[in-house]
Structure formats: structure tokens, C-alpha cells
Amino acid sequence: MSVCRRQGRAGHGVTMREVGQIAGGFHHATVSKALRNDPSISESTRGVIQRTARKLGYRRDPLLDALIRHRLEKTERRAPRVIALIGEAATRSELEASPGGAALWCGAVAAAQRLGHQIEYFPHGVGQMTARRLDAVLYARGIRGVILGPLAADGPRPTLSWERLSAVKIEGGHLEAPRCTVAPALLRGVKDAFGRLWREGRRRIGLAIRVDSDVLRRAQLKAGFLFAQQACDAAETVPVLEVGGRDAVEVIQQWLRRHRPEVVLAESAVWRTIAAAAGQTRRRSPEWIGIGPAEAMCGRPGLVLEYERLGATAAEQVIGLMQTFQRDAEQETTTTYIAVTWRDGAPSRA
């Protein structure tokens, strides 16, 4: 994306060619790369060129940036820029079969396409490419943008060359890098859902999450729930149920017996275990409200996590980072939350 301004036009400051000449005879393509902090240019050269550009008052032209972006979006490229979507599934079709996976993929692909990029799937995890190999592949392919899909808390952690890559992760609260995160706004979501149920006169509202939910989702669910619970009397307070481990069924049954929840907000990932446990008790089962991707809701009411928007936002952010030349290692840690939506459904008993 090396664009030079035409020389000698009134009011248009310095050009890349001029910067190159004055900095010591660099080609304008080198200048373009150096100003974008491209690691393929040596650090000392980057320094010289950036200092010269600053001294001469070189300015990027946002209109040209917009034009380039527009052209990227409108024209078909023979070799579109590729962004890597990294996930645990062995193949893309396996990813698409996982809950939310298809929506995530569609969202990311559509957004990337709109912005003139292409998404390609790369597996990473047990029995898949090691981080080192993956890193080498990305480097060899010239891929500079990475989206890290949702990864399990206990899986291997991809250590890639973050100083080279523009990157965004989806959820993945257990990972230090990439530093930019896109996640569903579950804290708000749960607070609102609780409030809605409370106003409907429901009491003894419970929350059931996976044991690793706090790590992956930065305890957003628990925090929102604890906050909303302040409205309850102590007698109506139901503690959070964390589902996982070998004695999960027993723990669930005990929790149901002891706290007799009337309605339970439950992450879709724990439904199967809960259904198995609840089926074995004679007690009237509570009403289950889902928290999960749309297709996992099975007609239940609940909080729908829009994986399509998560994927799209992640792609937009990565492209934004790539186009403004920001690599992950230079980033401050930020999290972008996307609204989750409440959906009414036909209430069902697990």
C-alpha cells in the first residue's frame, strides 16, 4: 500500500520520495514501509526515516487512505490480503460444527471481504500445529493479521511473534496476548436478564456456569449476577453453580436440593450435564434460561451471544490495526464488548 503524493502540488506537504532522498537515498517504498513500522526494514533505518519524516513535517493523507480502503473494498484482487483465524478445531468444517463456530466464521469472512481481505482457518491445539510451526507458516505466507478464536482454558497457548502481527482475540481471558480482545458484554447482559426476571416476579434466580467460565469470560457472568442479586433478600439468594469435574452431577443435584432455584440462567455449555443431573431428581425442575449462541438455544428464552457480530468486529478491528500499522506488542491492553440480546422463547423444562 505504498502511495506517494504527487510532487509539487500547492499546499500538499512533503512526499515520501522527498523523505527518502533527504533521509539518505532510500526508495519511497522503503519509506512507506518504515513509516508503517514494518519489521522487514531494519530498526535503525526505520528510526532514520521516521525522524526525517517528523522533521520535514510529513503527514499521512487520510483521504488517500480512505481511497485505498475504498479500492480494496470495491476492486477484486488477484491475491487478497489474508487474515488467519486460529482455533482449536482440526478443520474449518469442525469449527463450523461447534456452537457459534459457523456464525463466527460467517461474520468474520463477511466483514473481511467487505474490507478487501480474506480469512483463512489455521488449527492450533492438541495434535495440531505447534505455535512455532504456525508462526513459521504465517511468516512464510506473509500473513500479518491474526484473529484468535475462542480457545479452551486448559489448551496450549499460542505464542506467536506478536511484535510482527496485528491481532485480536475473541474472549480468551486466560491469554496475555493478543492484547486486544473482543467479547460479549455478559456483565450487562446478565444484569439486565436478572432484572427482567425479577420484574416479572420471579424469585430464587440462579446462575449455572462452567468452571472455566470465570477465566475465559473474565468473570463477567458472575460479576453481573452478584450485582443483580443485591436486589434479593438473603433468604432468596442462590449461590453460583459452577459445573465441571467428575462429580458434577452430584454437585448439581445437591445445589438443586439445597437452594431450590425457581429459574436458572445457564451457559449453554453446561446444559447437557445439568439435564442429566436434573433428570435423576424427582423434584420439580426449575425453568432454564439459556446463555449461548443462537443455534444452541433450542427455542429457550435467554441471552443470545451473537457470534456473527463477534467475528465481524474482530475482523474489522484486526483490519483497522493492520491499516493503521499497529502491531500487537505495541498495544495497550483493551477489551471491546459487544451487546448481547435477550430473546423470548418457548420456556422449557430441562
Partner: protein, 345 residues
């Protein structure tokens, strides 16, 4: 074209060129609206720069808008200065021209601001930050790409950027526990807490869920308008009754009202020697706001988004003398009790 005129006429009519009669302009506009034609504003500006108007250069302009004018002390507040710095730096890096505008007594009201923005051709706005009890702003939002830094109470739900209150409250709480404090109290400004999603208190409840019930101290609210002595007076009974050992607050003057307890701020945005707390970079918040804004502008997204996003910039903990390791405090207390004679250990 539905209006039955040449496309050049359409182009001129949509730009309000006087060579096209008023009737034709209206007809073309109506047809464009019917068909859902949307001009890319960036390309409008791009073609404008190609026009041979001597001495004029089209530039992309954005504005930082605040509702505390310089005369009202805008530059006395370090967080404003940091935001302005971040916004300007990032705008410059990306080649945008940026001006700081004020909605305030003696400065703009909404109408004059709109006039100014239109005249200057500003298409992108960063609001940072609009204080709740000061002048409000109301613009035809569809004309602008907007990013809001805080300002939750004052604006519709635009793309939102702020410091990570949820994260920094947990960070401070856990760090103070590590330093040996058990009864940690949160003092938070009432205004804004709801508008920002009650993040301070949600984070507090979450952190408290991990400690014994007997050590949990309920949060206390103060008004944003309170001065430090007023806060000190308001929270004194709470400090006593709850036997608070360390106070965390989103006020930076926490040392002025934490009394005998240790104090840590959640929102340190300027060097404050000896103050413990979470360092947050408002310059980074400003930078991030501009990055998000230029993204909106280049993809032609204007007005209030259908589904908002909230972006939070994380902070980092800094130790300080205002919250020393607990053993030292206890030692000092014991030393004072013993009449000031230092015991051999």
C-alpha cells in the same frame, strides 16, 4: 436515473450547485432518497480536492468536543490534557486535522457548534468527556461519525471508550489483599456509576466473593460535587463502623479522605508521588477513540449505531507510600503504642 437527468446533473444537484435549478435539485434529491443513494463523504472530499480551487486544500477534520471550556478550567485537569494529547497525536499520525471545541458558557451551544462543524467540514467527533451537570449537546447525529469517551449520561449510546473500571477495581482490591489489607472499602462517585454500568461495584462484589464474609465492606457513595473534606466528613462513620483498613476510590485525592486507613486511587492519570493505585492512561483512551473514529469515518458509519460497543483500556498497578505493605503499618502502630520506643526484633 429515476429523475430523468444526466448523472453529472445529479452530481451537481446533490452537491447543491447553483447551476441546477431549485426544482431539479429537489427532484433529484427525492429520487436519490427513494433509491437509497448514499454518497461516500470521504470521496466527496476527495473529489473536492481535485477541483482547481486555488489555494484551498481539502483536509479531513475531526474535533474533540468537551463541555468545560478553557475559561472554566479545561486545561487545569490532567485527564483532559491527557485525552487531548492522545487525540491530537493519533489524529496527526493518521493525517487528520483536529481541533478542540467547547460546549459551555461563553463558548458554543449546540446550534453554534453545528454551524461551526458544518462550515469547517468536520465529519468526525470525539466527545471526551462530557460532564454530567454541565451544558448538554444535541446535534443531527446522522451527519457525524461519533466516538464518546465516558459521557454515558450525556449522549446516546455511541461507540464508547473508557478506562477499564471493572478491571482496575479488581486489580486494586487483589493487590491490597496481597499487601496484607483485609477490610478494603470502596468510595465511589454516585453520578456516573449507573451510566457506566455499575462496573466499580460489580467488580467489588466479584472480588469480595473470594474472601470471608466477615471481611467484606459495603461500598459507599459520595457525590461528585463533594470536596475532599466533605467526603472525609461523609465517610468518617463508615470508616469507623466498618473498621476500614484501606480505601480505594476513583478520586485521585483519596489520601485526603482515607483518614487513618491506607489509600489507593483507581484512576491515577498524572504522576503523584507516594500515591498507590492503578495507573490509567487517558492519552491511550484518546488515541483509541481516534482509531475507532477514523475506522467509522472510512467505512462511512454515521449516527447512533444500531448495536453499540464498549471499549475499555486496562490500567496497571503502582505501589506507593499511601498503601505500604501491611506489616509495616502494624509495626508502626505497635511502635506508637509502645510509647515510641523502637523494639529490637
Amino acid at each position: 436515473m429515476a429523475a430523468g437527468v444526466h448523472y453529472a446533473t445529479v452530481s451537481r444537484a446533490l452537491r447543491g450547485d447553483p447551476r441546477i435549478s431549485g426544482a431539479t435539485q429537489a427532484r433529484v434529491r427525492a429520487a436519490a432518497e427513494r433509491k437509497g443513494y448514499v454518497g461516500g463523504p470521504a470521496f466527496g472530499a476527495l473529489s473536492a480536492r481535485r477541483a482547481p480551487a486555488a489555494g484551498t486544500v481539502a483536509v479531513e477534520r475531526i474535533a474533540l468536543v468537551c463541555n468545560r471550556a478553557t475559561a472554566q478550567g479545561f486545561r487545569r485537569y490532567t485527564h483532559y490534557r491527557s485525552i487531548e494529547l492522545g487525540v491530537r497525536r493519533r489524529a496527526e499520525e493518521l493525517g487528520y486535522e483536529c481541533e478542540t471545541l467547547f460546549i459551555d458558557r461563553g463558548a458554543h451551544d449546540s446550534r453554534s457548534l453545528l454551524g461551526h462543524l458544518r462550515k469547517r467540514g468536520v465529519r468526525g467527533l470525539v466527545f471526551g468527556t462530557l460532564e454530567a451537570d454541565r451544558r448538554a449537546v444535541e446535534l443531527p447525529w446522522d451527519e457525524f461519525s461519533v466516538v464518546a469517551i465516558d459521557s454515558g449520561e450525556m449522549l446516546p449510546a455511541f461507540t464508547f471508550v473508557s478506562v477499564d473500571q471493572f478491571h482496575y477495581t479488581q486489580l486494586a482490591f487483589r493487590r491490597l489483599r496481597e499487601l496484607g489489607y483485609q477490610r478494603i472499602g470502596l468510595v465511589v462517585e454516585r453520578e456516573g456509576e449507573e451510566a457506566t454500568g455499575d462496573l466499580h461495584r460489580a467488580a467489588l462484589l466479584l472480588a469480595q466473593a473470594e474472601i470471608p464474609e466477615a471481611e467484606r465492606v459495603p461500598a459507599v457513595f459520595v457525590s461528585r460535587r463533594y470536596s475532599s473534606p466533605e467526603i472525609a466528613a461523609a465517610i468518617a462513620p463508615w470508616l469507623r463502623q466498618e473498621r476500614v483498613e484501606a480505601v480505594i476510590s476513583n478520586r485521585v485525592q483519596v489520601r485526603e479522605f482515607s483518614g487513618a486507613a491506607a489509600g489507593a486511587t483507581l484512576c491515577m492519570h498524572a504522576p503523584m508521588p507516594g500515591l498507590a493505585g492503578v495507573w490509567v492512561s487517558f492519552a491511550e483512551v484518546g488515541r483509541r477513540a481516534v482509531s475507532l473514529l477514523t475506522n467509522l469515518m472510512q467505512t462511512g458509519q454515521c449516527g447512533v449505531p444500531a448495536a453499540p460497543t464498549w471499549t475499555y483500556v486496562a490500567g496497571t498497578w503502582r505501589d506507593g507510600a499511601s498503601a505500604p505493605r501491611r506489616t509495616a503499618v502494624l509495626d508502626e502502630a505497635r511502635w506508637l503504642e509502645a510509647g515510641g520506643r523502637r523494639r529490637n526484633r
